[in-house]
Amino acid sequence: MPDAVVDVPRWSADQVLSLAPDASAQRAARALAGGKAWSEVGFSADDALPPTVWGLCQGSDVQPYQTCVDLTEPAYRCTCPSRKFPCKHTLAVLLRWAAGTVPDAPAPAWVREWQASRAERTRAYGPKEAARTGGESNGRAAGTKATLRRAERVAAGLAELDRWLADQLRGGLAGVARLGYAHWDTMAARLIDAQAPGAARLVRNLGDYVGDPERLLAELGLLRLLAAGFARLDSLPPELAATLRLRVGLPVSAEEVLAGPAVRDRWQVLGVRDEPENDLLVRRVWLRGAQTGRAALVLSFAGPGQVFVTDLVPGTALDADLCFYPENVRVLIARRHAPAAPITSVAGALPVPAAMREYAQALARDPWLERWPMVLADVVPVKAGDRWCLTAGGDGVPLDPAAGAPWRLVAAAGGRPVVVAGEWTAAGLRPLSVWTGDRLVRL
């Protein structure tokens, strides 16, 4: 629990609305926030209570709904029957707080009870955040015998992958273009059977590069590194070995990650990108530490109809402890020290050559790195030939053509140098946000 919080930085209305599960909830919340349905609205924070906003809202029920929000995480609770999460009452009470119309007041009993029960649960099960974004877990519970058996299966699967890779080069890549997706999916399925889902995903993706032999060949080379590396895992430096295991798809539990050293910083949210992957929607939130300069990735998943529960909004910074996965980019939030606060400038923006050097270093740590957050200082979007790129004069960083013509970025920059944050991939940079002066524009 934080010590007596004197002043919690107030959120902007945008920050509040970004929590909404959909646009209709946003609209409803806006309408409700100004309404007369509220009574006993208050804000309180002390030794025993994290910063909390609460209120009673008269809805269609006889009893008013009890709505309260713990601002640190944030965590919500509302007694309304809505299945939306957070519901419009929650958003509305936050909007009132953001607008500065919520007075400081002693917390009523029901608020204290809720916070007490949450603290209880946290003690019992560890941080909630970790459970939420933890991915696979329970790896160790099954015991060492199962672990050993799995390692054997994975090793056998990767050995088969290695032979298969060589076969592709024996027959020549010119021929595989005709084979269609089934060719790659068969091998991918075998790797799934061998319990190497990470490698399986890489093989399945090969089908996308059939039209681009250079890319296809490069990906085969990286798979070779994976298979050959796994065969002599014990002789690798421990960090690289851990990264390799992760890339192959051996599970790392949230507990293991959280047991590692935590890095505290003011983590600036650079950009958010949602992408469908199989049946899930994957949200990647890219962070950079203001002091450490470290890049971090918060990954979350949403199934069909689900929404992302995250308060990581571009243009804010979060004072928190992060624990890194072995590949040194993906993180879990171990502990928040304060709610996210707006920022007016971005730290750690690099000139183009330095940014590329930094990426090369990251690649040396993890050859299978697919995305890397890049923050380029003082660049201008320009079209060179048929390709868009970002340049400070001289060399240009190519943009990913699949992202389309970056007209929003071009207009925001207006031909003047701006700071651009984006996701660097083998196909080029995908711009996510741009800072012009103290203004952030999401792309």
């Binding site: 076969d167 080069l169 020549g172 990426y359 201008v380 960083v397 190519p398 203004r439 524009v441």
Partner: protein, 542 residues
């Protein structure tokens, strides 16, 4: 492992192009060890990725011109963002779904911006809107500022917004006339007519004989813009065209020129059918307008060749007698200036058998010739006729007359019709009247619409007539009436709770509220706590 294995094989130190070539062909044919090749590939792949080739020597562009104008406030930005959005989540923040309605909201938003600018990142979306919606271009340019010119120079699609072009001009140059599709050629001719009617006519005359009949019809109708007696020779020539559509267009255009030979021919025919010269009951004869007695009607006995050449259709529509039809056609095409003033003419009795035909003919003429006096004189009797027997043809004619009436006359009629009740009002094409009324509606119309809706919805709750009226009213009612609309929605909800059939009323209320918000939206952002902002208006998307 050796550096070179076999004849065509590729060794460890081989360059990427050789490695790629070998991999494409396959080691089965080039010889050599596939696994060794794979290792070489791996090394190359990692090196190439780490040292991704940058695009060399990119020159910096000229920056956009500085723009001293301030920005609209953050709430206004959020609304225009929702109006312009392409993704469904942001789009849904606007209560109006259909494109036309959203464009009206956008036009209203842009009109309220009053010299302030949108944040630069929204300018591309605005320019995209302007590509298709020419009428918004001048307001768009105002809100986008000099950045629009700068962007337009980089993308041909936005060329219309480039600096130095008048706001209405388009990307199509004269080459379109030679090479373009018929649609673009027609558009080009139309625009040229606006600037230089004679030049446009010369252009058309030069290629007239070489055009296909279909194209002749399309291009000839472009002469509607800037029509004058100078166009008569070409139109007379087109009256002899082999294709019927071309003749119809020519006759229609000539009918708009009262002083043309065509007009004189029609006037002569009309006067032969209508005898104004009868004495009144007192036997007095007053002036050149003829007498005051009943008007004598003698429809033509045949539809001769010259009549057919002038566009009179010889075969009547089903249910109409031949002679009545010919009379109507002649009256519809004869210049209204041959008749006495409308009030005098209409005050005189006409034999009952021909009264309807005469009225229809004159109404058609009033609509075609945009004669306000005649339209005003005819619209009320025609409305009464539509209310009593409601012929579909008459309703169309009524709509055509509404198009001629000035705004305040429309408003008065809309209010009067609504006072008689919603159902009756809808029967006389009230929606068309309301759509033509100035926007936002003048107070009398707004009051009448709201009153009728309150009376209709207060007890029954719904009905398709109310739904379509609400859809229109959502966009056209003065936004200041939002509280009353909200109260109306509240009442309907009380009468019919949880009825999806009345969802349109919620949408109605939400839309008016949305619009009310941008009545006063464009002020600067309120300064946020703790920080003095140099450019307070720029808080856009924070």
């Amino acid at each position: 492992m050796t550096d070179v294995v076999g004849g065509g094989a590729v060794g460890r130190g081989a360059a990427w192009p050789e490695v790629l070539a070998a991999a494409l062909v396959g080691t089965q044919r080039t010889g050599g060890d596939a696994e060794a090749l794979l290792d070489t590939v791996a090394g190359h792949a990692l090196r190439r990725r780490a040292g991704t080739a940058l695009v060399p020597g990119v020159p910096l562009p000229a920056p956009a011109p500085a723009d001293p104008a301030g920005f609209v406030g953050p709430d206004a930005v959020a609304r225009v963002d929702a109006l312009l959005a392409t993704d469904s989540a942001t789009r849904d923040a606007v209560p109006v779904r259909d494109m036309a309605g959203r464009l009206e909201l956008l036009a209203e938003w842009l009109g309220a911006a009053a010299g302030r600018r949108v944040p630069p990142e929204l300018v591309p979306a605005l320019l995209d809107v302007g590509r298709r919606h020419h009428h918004l271009r001048p307001v768009l340019a105002e809100v986008a500022g000099p950045l629009a010119h700068w962007l337009a120079a980089q993308r041909p699609d936005w060329g219309y917004a480039a600096a130095g072009r008048p706001a209405q001009s388009t990307v199509d140059g004269p080459e379109v006339w030679e090479l373009g599709s018929i649609g673009r050629r027609g558009g080009y001719l139309h625009r040229l007519r606006q600037r230089d009617p004679a030049q446009a006519r010369k252009l058309l005359e030069a290629t007239w004989d070489a055009e296909t009949p279909d194209d002749r019809a399309v291009l000839l109708s472009a002469l509607k813009t800037g029509l004058s007696l100078d166009d008569e020779p070409l139109l007379e020539r087109a009256l002899d065209d082999r294709r019927r559509q071309v003749r119809v267009v020519a006759a229609d255009l000539l009918g708009r020129l009262p002083d043309s030979a065509y007009g004189r021919r029609m006037a002569a025919r009309a006067l032969a059918c209508v005898d104004l010269d009868t004495a009144g009951p007192t036997g007095s004869r007053t002036g050149p307008d003829g007498g005051t007695g009943p008007i004598g009607i003698e429809p033509p006995a045949t539809c001769d060749r010259p009549m057919r050449r002038d566009g009179i259709a010889p075969r009547p529509p089903a249910g109409t007698g031949e002679r009545a039809w010919w009379l109507e056609e002649i009256l519809a095409r004869a210049p209204l200036s041959v008749w006495p003033a409308p009030a005098r003419f209409l005050a005189r009795p006409v034999s009952e058998a021909w009264a309807v035909t005469v009225r229809r003919g004159l109404a058609r003429a009033a609509a075609a010739q945009h004669d306000i006096a005649w339209a005003l004189a005819l619209v009320d009797p025609l409305t009464a006729g539509v209310v009593t027997d409601g012929q579909p043809d008459d309703r169309l004619l009524l709509k055509a007359l509404y198009d001629v009436l000035p705004a305040q006359e429309l408003a008065a009629r809309a209010a009067a019709a609504l006072d008689r009740g919603l159902v009756g009002a809808m029967a006389v094409e009230l929606e068309h009247v309301l759509a033509l009324c100035p926007r936002p509606w003048p107070p009398a119309v707004a009051e009448a619409v709201l009153g009728a809706l309150e009376a209709h919805l207060g007890n029954r709750g719904a009905g398709w007539r109310a739904a379509s009226l609400c859809e229109l009213a959502a966009l056209r009612l003065p936004a200041d009436l939002a509280p009353r609309v909200a109260a109306l929605a509240e009442r309907v909800r009380a009468v019919r709770p949880n009825d999806p059939g009345v969802a349109f009323i919620e949408r109605f209320a939400a839309t008016v509220r949305f619009r009310k918000a941008h009545r006063s939206p464009h002020g600067a952002a309120p300064p946020r706590r703790g920080r003095v902002r140099a450019r307070a208006g720029r808080a856009g998307r924070r």
